[in-house]
């Protein structure tokens, strides 16, 4: 029987699984009183569902509907004036949700905060471009890679993939080597869909290498006559090297590159 592979997550998985092994978790520390983070938590208390410190970063979970207000408070009242990064994590297979994270930096305190929120599949998130221009490209990339729509974004358009691309590459359902659409993309674009049958899968990739094609490819050390049929395997021949590759005609007057540094 063929091995079962789940369709909702086609990424590489470990072949070896130990059913009794429970992965440990990175320790999460509570926020200590009197620190800078304690002030942030106090200011953000209205929005925060959960907050803790994980590896030096304060993580605050908020409701996705309040993201703009929460981030505005963080920027204006806590001094987090730079949005370093914004993206998503695909949890559709487990929970039917995306986890969005925003990474912020406070330049004066040299502290970092991560705002985390979750949205359901098909839901949109409010753009934070009015607060942070750096989110402009970041949100476009998130839309491109995950298909998460961002409301009120000035120019929500694919950024890395071509405009007429189908599918969102960082979804867990998207295979590493691309889907059917991706493999025919160039053929469809240059010749048209009706040429798929004429061109065929063997010719659609100009970089494709066929080791049995002795008309267009040869392998060093395994040379065979042009057009020979080697589908049954070929005779191995030892590589012969020329005896005198380098002849030093004039050892004394030639320029030597003995000292480079």
């Amino acid at each position: 029987m063929r091995k079962y592979t789940p369709k909702d997550n086609v990424q590489a998985k470990s072949y070896y699984t130990d059913r009794y092994w429970v992965a440990p978790r990175v320790p999460r520390a509570a926020v200590e009183e009197g620190t800078h983070f304690a002030d942030v938590v106090k200011t953000m208390a209205h929005f925060a569902k959960e907050s803790y410190i994980e590896i030096g970063t304060l993580v605050i979970h908020i409701d996705a509907k309040e993201n703009f207000e929460a981030i505005k408070t963080l920027k204006e009242q806590c001094g987090y004036t730079q949005c370093s990064e914004q993206s998503a994590v695909d949890y559709l297979a487990q929970d039917g949700e995306f986890e969005l994270f925003y990474q912020f930096l406070n330049v004066n305190e040299a502290k970092r905060v991560r705002i985390v929120c979750r949205i359901k599949q098909g839901e949109a998130i409010e753009s934070i471009v009015p607060l942070f221009n750096s989110a402009n490209f970041a949100e476009r990339e998130m839309f491109d890679m995950f298909g998460i729509k961002v409301n009120n974004h000035p120019f929500l358009k694919r950024i890395i993939m071509p405009d007429d691309w189908e599918g969102h590459p960082l979804l867990k359902t998207y295979p590493l080597h691309g889907d059917e659409f991706a493999s025919w993309y160039e053929v469809d674009k240059i010749f048209g869909k009706e040429y798929r049958d004429i061109i065929g899968p063997e010719n659609r990739d100009p970089a494709r290498i066929d080791r049995y094609d002795t008309k267009r490819f040869s392998r060093v050390g395994y040379e065979v006559p042009f057009g020979a049929d080697i589908s049954e395997g070929e005779k191995e021949q030892p590589i012969e090297y020329s005896e005198t590759l380098l002849v030093d005609y004039n050892k004394d007057s030639g320029k030597q590159l003995d000292h480079r540094k």
Partner: protein, 409 residues
């Protein structure tokens, strides 16, 4: 209105034929000053830029997707291909993020070597910047001189790891090799040479050069507030009078113990940024000189001791059964870090290079996000190019020092 057909495809929402006086031009992706694969669509009124739209993605290789399908150690050589001018800084940023996730620390000698390699890479990258920036602006000879010193720096990297461009010189948990014989002497000689050349050749050629000043002064002005808002980091941020260097503010590796200054420029223009790069080269050689005695004092361990995550030393594997078993598991399955998420910023030559890693306790990262400085600096172009002249566009692109391996990923 466009009439797209097979021979004239749809031009990405662009109307090249205008009714008014403006003109739309394509800058790149095959422009010699586009620093790789930047396609910039510029709307011009005469010679003035009215609207700029950076179009990226021509070098997209899906590195973040690949990271989800590779074990942690497998992925490390892929990080070379992000910022290919200074590959070790990417290797290091990734290795550090994984180390933070695992909760391990590299031994002292590995830290010294890593800091050394990072600073060598910083100088290499800055020399590359000065060379290409000068070439873009029109000063050909600086390009030739700077590439000479960069070549010697790449010789040093070659002596250490055998590669000149894609180093993979850092491992998760330490470094693979000790410094080769004669490396320290060559390094000091190179530092002297770089200091001497920067002072007497590049600065002499450029700093007071009338054409250079005319081309760079008050071109590409970014205020400190804008720089923060657009996510600028590194020299772009410090060039806008914001004194923030991750090496100093959030020290990693040995930067907490080292004595160096953070040059800042309050000019906020391309000339200030150029001066900043020059000053940073001096600071890097200063750091490298301080690292030499630290190297000599350190004990010879190179990899962290955490046999559940990192293979034990060879002699242990060859003599002890359990170490061999753990090594076998690590090689065949890959390490399994604990569940959790981490974001670790490092100061790469271009700016803040950070890796966000979400681990679900599997040998494959559940999500890896590379926060590349050049990506955000490219986004900034749509703002600062507006109102400038077409001749300054090349200067501004050059002065942002973007490299497309990490923009497109």
């Amino acid at each position: 209105m466009q009439q797209p057909n097979k021979l004239t495809p749809f031009f990405e929402n662009l109307n090249f034929e205008r009714d008014d006086n403006t003109m739309v031009i394509n800058f790149g992706p095959q422009h010699p000053s586009a620093h790789g694969q930047l396609r910039l669509v510029l709307e011009l009124d005469g010679e003035q830029v009215v609207k700029a739209y950076p179009d990226i993605g021509y070098l997209h290789r899906g590195i973040e997707k690949m990271a989800e399908n590779m074990t942690y150690n497998e992925f490390l050589p892929t990080t070379d291909r992000l910022d290919y001018i200074a590959a070790t800084s990417n290797n290091y940023a990734y290795a550090l993020a994984v180390e933070k996730l695992l909760g391990i620390e590299a031994p002292r000698r590995a830290q010294v070597i890593r800091t050394m390699l990072l600073e060598i890479n910083r100088i290499i990258s800055h020399l590359f910047f000065i060379a290409t920036h000068a070439l873009d602006v029109g000063a050909m000879s600086v390009f030739l001189y700077a590439f000479r010193e960069r070549e010697f720096g790449m010789d040093l990297m070659e002596d250490y790891c055998g590669a000149r461009l894609t180093h993979s010189a850092v491992r998760i948990g330490g470094v693979p090799l000790d410094l080769p014989e004669g490396f320290i002497e060559n390094l000091i000689a190179w530092c002297d040479k770089v200091d001497h050349e920067v002072k007497n050749t590049y600065e002499a050629l450029l700093t007071e050069n009338r054409i250079w000043k005319m081309r760079l002064e008050d071109v590409g002005v970014i205020s400190g507030e804008d720089a923060l808002n657009w996510g600028c980091t590194g020299p772009m941020l410090r060039g806008s009078n914001v004194k923030y260097d991750i090496r100093k503010e959030e020290p990693y590796e040995l930067y907490g113990e080292l004595d160096f200054d953070i040059p800042v420029s309050d000019r906020c223009d391309s000339y200030g940024r150029y001066m900043l790069y020059m000053q940073e080269i001096y600071q890097s050689t200063r750091i490298l000189r301080q690292l030499v005695p630290m190297y000599k004092e350190s004990s010879p361990e190179l990899m962290a001791h955490a046999p559940q995550y990192i293979s034990a030393p060879k002699e242990e594997i060859m003599t002890q059964n359990y170490a061999l078993m753990q090594h076998f598991v690590l090689v065949t399955q890959g390490m399994r870090p604990p569940k959790g998420e981490v974001y670790v910023p490092t100061e790469s030559p271009k700016g803040e290079l950070g890796f966000y890693i979400k681990s679900e306790g599997e040998p494959y990262a559940y999500r890896l996000k590379c926060r590349a400085p050049s990506f955000f600096h490219t986004g900034l172009l749509q703002d600062i190019l507006v109102g400038t002249y077409i001749a300054d566009v090349v200067t501004i692109i050059g002065s942002t020092n973007i490299v497309f391996g990490e923009v497109d990923r």
